[in-house]
Subunit: 199 residues, 2 copies
DNA sequence: CTTGAACAAGACAGGTCTGTCTGTCAACAT
DNA sequence: ATGTTGACAGACAGACCTGTCTTGTTCAAG
C-alpha cells in the first residue's frame, strides 16, 4: 500500500467510516488547509458529521487531535516519499531524484507548505514534539541514503540537503513551485558532486 | 542611525512615547513572540497602557495593526542587515559575510524565526502582501550584490542563496543555530565558488 | 476662559472558542 | 426481553475575541 499526493491533500468526510476516522480525516484536511488555531473544534465536528460527545470520547482535547493529526501526517508523508522514490534501486539515484519528487509535491493542488514547519511557526517554542521529530526522521532518512551511496561524511551532506529542502518548501509556499525548483536542483547538484568528488 | 538586534527583539512599553508608538512597539514584541492570532487586542492594549479607543483611533482594525507591524519589521530588519554588513566595502565581502550575520541573528535572545515566514504560515494564502514583499526585497538586495560583485547570472545565484537562507532560518528556528550555521556556510561557499569560477 | 483634541478607564454587544452536559435512538449481546 | 454500548443532536457554561460606546481628565491653542 502506497500513499499518493491525494492522501497528502486529505480526502472527504467518508461517511462509511467510524466516528474517530471521520473526525481525524476532517481535521487532517482542515488543519493543513487553514492552520491549527484557525480551525475550530465546532467546524471539524460539523463537517465530519459527528456528535460533540463522540469527538471528546475519542480525543480528550483539541491538543490530542492536533497530535494525532501530526502523527498521521508524518506517517503519510514519509510513506508517500518512499513510495515515490521506492522504485529506484541505488541510493545515489534516490538522492538525485529527491528534488523532482519534492517538485511534484510543490505543484500538487492544495499545497500549503510543510505541516510541521507551519505548525511550529504557529505554536512557537511549546509546539508539539512531532514537528521536530518529523524533521529528524527526514534527516535520518537522507543521511542513510548518503551513507549507503558511499558519500563521505554523510551527516554533513544530509544536513546540507535538508537545509536546502526546507528552503525550497518555504520558497514554494510563498512564491510558487517555479521559484524553488531550479535553485533546489542546483544546490543538490553542487552538494552531491562536491561530496562525490571528495570520496 | 543603525538598528541593532535589540530593535529586532522589540523593546519595552516606553511610557514617554505617544499612544500610537506604545501600541505599535507592544504589538511588535508580542506578535513576533507569540504569533499573530495568538496575540489578542486586549493584551496589547493592557501592556501598552493605552485606552481601547486610543488604539482604535490610530489603527482601524487588528489587521491594520498587523500590517503596520510587518512594515516596521521589514524596515528594521533590512536596516539591521545593512548596518551589520555596511562596513564591508566590496560586494564580494558583503556576500561572504552574510552567513555570519545571519548566525548572529539566529543566536540572538528571543529569536523565533522570520516574522514573514511565520506570518505567511499562519495566515495562509490570504496573508498580508508584506510577507512576500519582504522576501522579494531581500532577493533584490542579494541579486544587486551578486551583480556588483561581477558574478554571472546574478539572478540565479541570488535565488540559490535566498533558498539557502530560508532553509537556515527554518532550521535555526526548529533545531537551534548550531543546526543551521555550518550547512549554510557550506552552501554559500559552494554556490559562490561555483559562480565565481564560471565568470 | 473656552473649546476641542487626545487620552485613560471600563462597560457593553455580539460573536466564537473549548469543553460539559442532558436526552434520544439503534444495534447488539446476554 | 433487557441491559449495554456507541453514536447523534443540541443546549449550556465560561472564557476570550474584536469592535463600539460612555464618561471623565488633561492640556494646549485660540
Amino acid at each position: 500500500m502506497t500513499f499518493t499526493l491525494d492522501d497528502l491533500a486529505g480526502s472527504g468526510p467518508l461517511p462509511e467510516h467510524d466516528a474517530r476516522t471521520r473526525v481525524l480525516e476532517t481535521a487532517y484536511r482542515l488543519f493543513y488547509r487553514q492552520g491549527l488555531r484557525a480551525t475550530g473544534i465546532d467546524r471539524i465536528i460539523a463537517e465530519s458529521g459527528v456528535a460533540k460527545m463522540s469527538f471528546y470520547r475519542h480525543f480528550p482535547s483539541k491538543q490530542a487531535l492536533i497530535d494525532a493529526y501530526l502523527d498521521l501526517r508524518h506517517a503519510r508523508w514519509m510513506a508517500w516519499l518512499e513510495g515515490r522514490l521506492g522504485k529506484l534501486s541505488s541510493p545515489r539515484d534516490w538522492l538525485a531524484a529527491l528534488p523532482g519528487a519534492l517538485d511534484d509535491w510543490f505543484r500538487a493542488p492544495g499545497f500549503r507548505g510543510c505541516a510541521f514547519i507551519n505548525g511550529h511557526a504557529e505554536a512557537g517554542p511549546d509546539a508539539p514534539a512531532m514537528t521536530v521529530m518529523h524533521k529528524r526522521a527526514l534527516a535520518a532518512r537522507i543521511e542513510r541514503a548518503c551513507a549507503e551511496a558511499g558519500l563521505p561524511q554523510p551527516g554533513e551532506v544530509a544536513a546540507d540537503l535538508l537545509l536546502a529542502i526546507e528552503g525550497a518548501i518555504v520558497r514554494a509556499q510563498m512564491e510558487g513551485a517555479d521559484a524553488a525548483q531550479q535553485p533546489l536542483r542546483r544546490l543538490f547538484a553542487r552538494t552531491l558532486s562536491d561530496a562525490g568528488g571528495k570520496q
